[in-house]
Subunit: 436 residues, 4 copies
């Protein structure tokens, strides 16, 4: 393969909201400051190698549909390197500084783990070179779900040999993430869960998972990797029940096994909605548990029951997400990873650019809207007022845990029936909408 | 009201599976021993006063349909006492020793909290007398969701006065539960949650809820009430999001606020399925977190998205539930409360009996089946075999947290590709089904 | 009751998008022309009497919360008339020309049907007077779900007496709708369905429903009522399964019983999403079946499983809806009825205005966006191009039903593997979003 | 490949409910008569070639897991023939007389359609020979969803060339089904639907689908194939919305395009539940529309939102299904096709047998239970009584369409408030359960 992978496409520029050019940003202006920080520093966008360069368009009922010109139909090492060059050209043209990967996406699995590791080393060396001084992984991870050995789980497999194998794979994946200057390392337990409780010892499996995480923490420290460890909750698919169901379930696990200080969460919007929550809810839950680490920016179809991993295209949703991110003071060292894929039926090379530009613009627009809401102050004031009865002496006493039932009963008898105000939800929605 | 409330109905007896009498037990034989314990001691059935005696058949689109002959159309104290007599006749005829109640179900709310408390005292005194030596509350609770003052929550209301009011109400409800010899006290936070995050300070509300629970714990100890405090998870309805979403979410809350040793959970099957889990999953989650306290035995419609609170009529489901209960060594001091209501369209007095008999028989049949499975041993053996690679020296080392990534990598290189056996799920299902 | 019902509120005016006045329209400008028609003629807004004036804020777990100053706590005829005056003041201040009602919302049910009819006549006479020359019902309907007599259904009740009763009620409701100059008449079969198939003869019930509709058609013609008859699909709630599940199910019923020319559909967005479809899908399904009659403009919560009847506040959704309405050439004699209610916790009188203003503005903004998209032409062109292979001679032959399998096989062999282009979904989404 | 494919397994025999042999039938006794018909004639079981012999265990997140000893890793013609031999040995050992197939499951796709057809002919000739006199296809079908050419649909593709290609494929598939003595021919439109309405002309696509079906009907008649044409409804997956959403939607389509007499439906239980209905509901809907043709016997997981195609293992469900099938007088020329697959993690050859035996036994048990219920007569009597007010002169008049609103109003006034009885749902459930 000689020359450009995307020959017809030049560097994507910001042209502003009136532009009709579908290969330009209308809302994302990397260097522009919003609430005292550059857009690129609020958003810290990252490209997901797997969806963008390994997504084939195959689905449970259909064969691959993507026929990218640079692919030669093999899974060779040479092909892996060529793909890596395409990745960096793409990052460069998009103006994005971060990328995410699984070990097995970027380099072919060998016949033995030694061979797999050697393959990985070779591709990673190239990536290191191509990264230059500007580009770094937002995070790396090990693919512990695709190979049939992982069909019953990795850390939670009933087979000890599989537990060991996944440990070896994680060890290597942390090492290469560290080597590439990655800022985080992610665990997504696609197979850590059960298909049926009839043949499963859930308690024993959860204990194994905790031991596995402890070992990863120890190893990270041993090699001096300072990146954040992240768990990515998902309720189900491919398993019927995944142990990291949602943010609260993951937090419970971390607390039970005293791992809460060592991990944060990578919240994915489509996973949130599959678990019966809004994306905003999951992000807020992570935030107030002190474990919001990263966001996998995508979106599901509200009418279907599986992970569609669409690009986030809903400006209202993006505004809610950014309200939380701003409250969190940003996401660094985390960021927004595009865990989103082209629709199976989108088969033009330019579609890869169109989808990312639209996704980035949507989130950028969310940031602009959220800033407008915060600067306007109306929503915040509405909330403040609702709770002002607690901004009192007795309120402080209650919040300090110093108001017992006797005292509260006394007050109740003294006061009689309390006055209860309107929740003003429609007004809040009107204010919210006015910023969109 | 003179004489019997249920004049045509005599004490319900066990007649065995071949009986065609719809006013007899076919599977529940209270004194029969199963796995070394009497059926009544495994099951510890309880009647829910609210559904059985206060359920009107009203729904969001329709007026009440129940015209029980003993009701006079008022919510007077006299009527409350008459209903209480009906309750005890019902318990007696059914042969059930436990009942559950909310404060406001059994006695009318007064104009002031003092009046409400006086009403409650009067009814509770009668209940105490009618209980005699055999009958006790399985649990009591305060109704903190019906009155408009609770529309934004009780412990999580943004109005301090409402927080205080609910504290006063809980204080009294714990007192009367204690007075009646109740074995547990339940918190169901129907309004503790949010309708919209736009007007809600979720973190502050959760902090308030924790303070509220701490105060309840302190008060329980102060008055010497030794019953278990139970939280009843439910994902939503009436609020869009309830803070006690499911077992794992509740456990995370309890751990975060260091309340984990003070509370257990009351798992309701219909709440489980509304949260996207099987009832069996929720019970197992509570069990392995050490907080399985009680079961609200009911069932939802798998095709609808709200709490239908139907009587459990699925023998397979009941068998799964009983497998967990047996693993837990029973539920005492908790039990099975029938948080289930007649269909709105079931309007004969005898329907109350039919529904309870069918529900009790279903769970009793579940117990018999679960015992058969356990005695047969085939399922347990299938599970044991799946994990036997961990019943080894290295397995023990892993489970003790002594196998680091270096060791596991070494083993992986040494062993090569691990062998992975079949999960035998269909065989497990075949075995399970054979016991039904 | 003397003087204004809404004393602090003056006529709501259009102030444009920059207004911060929450009691002004920012997007709805009634007389402004969009695509050659006034906004008010595209939108034909209508107020739902039941939600706005009979909504109490009660829910399955809670008592009423609304304490409107004009309510005296009774369901008297005098109260009914007072409410009717409030309704017309509200319509006037909002600048809306249409309203919708159930017979039993506007006048109290009497002890006999004659008394109910007399009550209705009295209130309707007042409404006729208050309507003046400008205001008319968008539609009327009979409430066949609230009274316990309808607990098993109305037209599909197994009790013949109930079938007859509901027929009498529909007869009268059509008459008063006609008398008031109503443009449509709606059937919502909240209880026409089943809770369990075990005790139901679904086929017989569907036959009864068809006979019932035939009788209504005959009566409408007999009295010279030219309004459109509308069926309002809903999948479930209060019944587990409603016979008018969704647009396609209703169309099948109408076709089976040869009623397809006599009825159109009233599509409600929240009912659409409860049935697993997007609102846009249901509207399009009705449109291409030639039976799009009216839209009940509201919205559900995507994470809950019951009808929340919220005001539509999502501009993207409103834009999709308006794209279909414009394709349909508008909705007249149907329109947009606000089948939406204040949140239970919104208890200020001004909230009624805020909610309607925000809902109307959202749909008006949808109209503006849809017009922009249509005028821009990019989406339409993208769709046209996708299908252009059918705009050929053979395409025409196929579409005329003149291409048999032999011919098509011949062509296939001749052509070899067909070329298949990209679906350009992300580009379509980018274009769509740019108009919002 | 020499000798047996399943060497350790002998013909599966009926051993009765007490057998512990997991390779024996406990409930399915082919020659035993139930309600005057042999079990095998009620059930007409069929094996799905694709799941059983082409299922790899791959899923969207994982590679194939099945390593059947007879597979050589190729998709050659020789491999296709070997698999066909395995299929017939399996049918023989299971004692099943019917099988179902897609064209591309049984023979490899060639480079051209002529080559594909030649491959198909060669495999079909072998199948014909192996069928002998006893075995026949329950149905055949064309695979119009896997190849990337079908990514936008087959009959509803916007590319005319794809429409033609799928027509050619259907032509051939009908021919080979006819040649093999198949009793039905199925259309499952996995890609006939849309992913987004923004880029779709739904009306034009539906028109094309109708033309396509008309051409298939004409061709079937031309070649003298008397088998039933079946449409298999499914709501979604792989597309977001499939045009054959559910039974009622499919019926509406058939009626709209005057195809209702030419097609019946193939109801799949897992598709039913994905569409928000119970399987029983979908079967009953097809039955009372006169279009119940076949049942794809499987089951989904009630907590997940995609097609899991599990073997039906719920005896209650199977009893409901059989109640409908008996009401329908059986399914012939349709039957029960096992559109069910081994769990991905079930990888022993014997698991294929275990799963089918358990699935067949479950349905057989359902038949036995349904017969018991029908012979007992209690359920039927309960239903008859509920509707007996219509078994009167006025009832007959209503059902004949001869009772107008005037008459019904007159009766209502005359009768006063109607009496409404209890629905007895819990009693119906108790009776139902007693037969399980």
């Amino acid at each position: 393969w000689e020359g450009d992978f995307f020959p017809g496409i030049t560097k994507i520029k910001y042209e502003g909201p009136t532009s009709k050019n579908h290969l330009a940003y209308k809302w994302y202006n990397a260097e522009e400051e919003i609430l005292g920080k550059k857009m690129k520093d609020w958003l810290r966008f990252s490209i997901a190698f797997w969806h963008t360069f390994r997504g084939t368009g195959g689905d449970p009922f259909g064969a691959p549909t993507k026929m990218w010109p640079w692919e030669d139909g093999t899974n060779s090492l040479a092909m892996a390197k060529r793909r890596m060059r395409a990745n960096f050209e793409f990052l460069d043209k998009l103006g994005v500084d971060r990328w995410c990967f699984h070990d097995r996406d970027i380099a072919p699995e060998g016949k033995t783990i030694e061979e797999s590791n050697a393959n990985l080393d070779e591709v990673v060396a190239l990536a290191k070179e191509l990264q230059g001084t500007r580009i770094r992984p937002l995070w790396g991870t090990a693919q512990l779900f695709f190979h049939p050995r992982y069909m019953h789980g990795a850390a939670t497999s009933p087979e000890l040999g599989v537990y060991a194998y996944s440990a070896a794979q994680v060890k290597k994946a942390i090492e290469v993430t560290h080597y590439l200057g990655g800022e985080n390392y992610v665990f997504w337990g696609g197979r850590e869960g059960y298909q049926s409780l009839l043949n499963t010892d859930m308690e024993r499996e959860l204990n194994h998972m905790a031991r596995f995480f402890e070992a990863a923490v120890a190893y990270k420290k041993k090699i001096g990797f300072n990146g954040t460890l992240l768990i990515e909750p998902k309720p189900q698919e491919p398993t019927k029940h995944q142990y990291d169901w949602d943010a609260a379930t993951s937090a419970n696990f971390l607390r039970k096994y005293k791992l809460i200080g060592e991990f944060k969460l990578n919240i994915e919007c489509n996973h949130a909605t599959l678990s019966g929550h809004s994306c905003h809810h999951e992000i807020e839950t992570a935030r107030i548990n002190g474990i919001l680490g990263n966001i996998d920016a995508n979106s599901g179809d509200p009418q279907v029951g599986w992970d569609t991993d669409q690009f986030m295209m809903d400006v209202g949703e993006a505004t809610l997400v950014m309200l939380s991110v701003i409250k969190n003071g940003g996401l660094a060292p985390g960021g927004f990873n595009f865990d989103a894929k082209l629709r199976r039926e989108s088969t033009d090379v330019e579609d890869i650019f169109i989808a990312h530009i639209a996704g980035m613009d949507t989130i950028a627009r969310g940031l602009r809207n959220a800033a407008k809401l915060i600067e306007g102050g109306l929503l915040e004031e509405l909330v403040r007022k609702r709770y002002e009865s607690f901004d009192t002496e007795l309120g402080a006493q209650i919040e300090a845990g110093k108001a017992d039932l006797d005292l509260l009963e006394k007050k109740t008898i003294q006061w009689g029936e309390p006055k209860v105000g309107s929740a003003k939800q429609e007004l809040a929605e009107m204010i919210f909408q006015s910023a969109i």
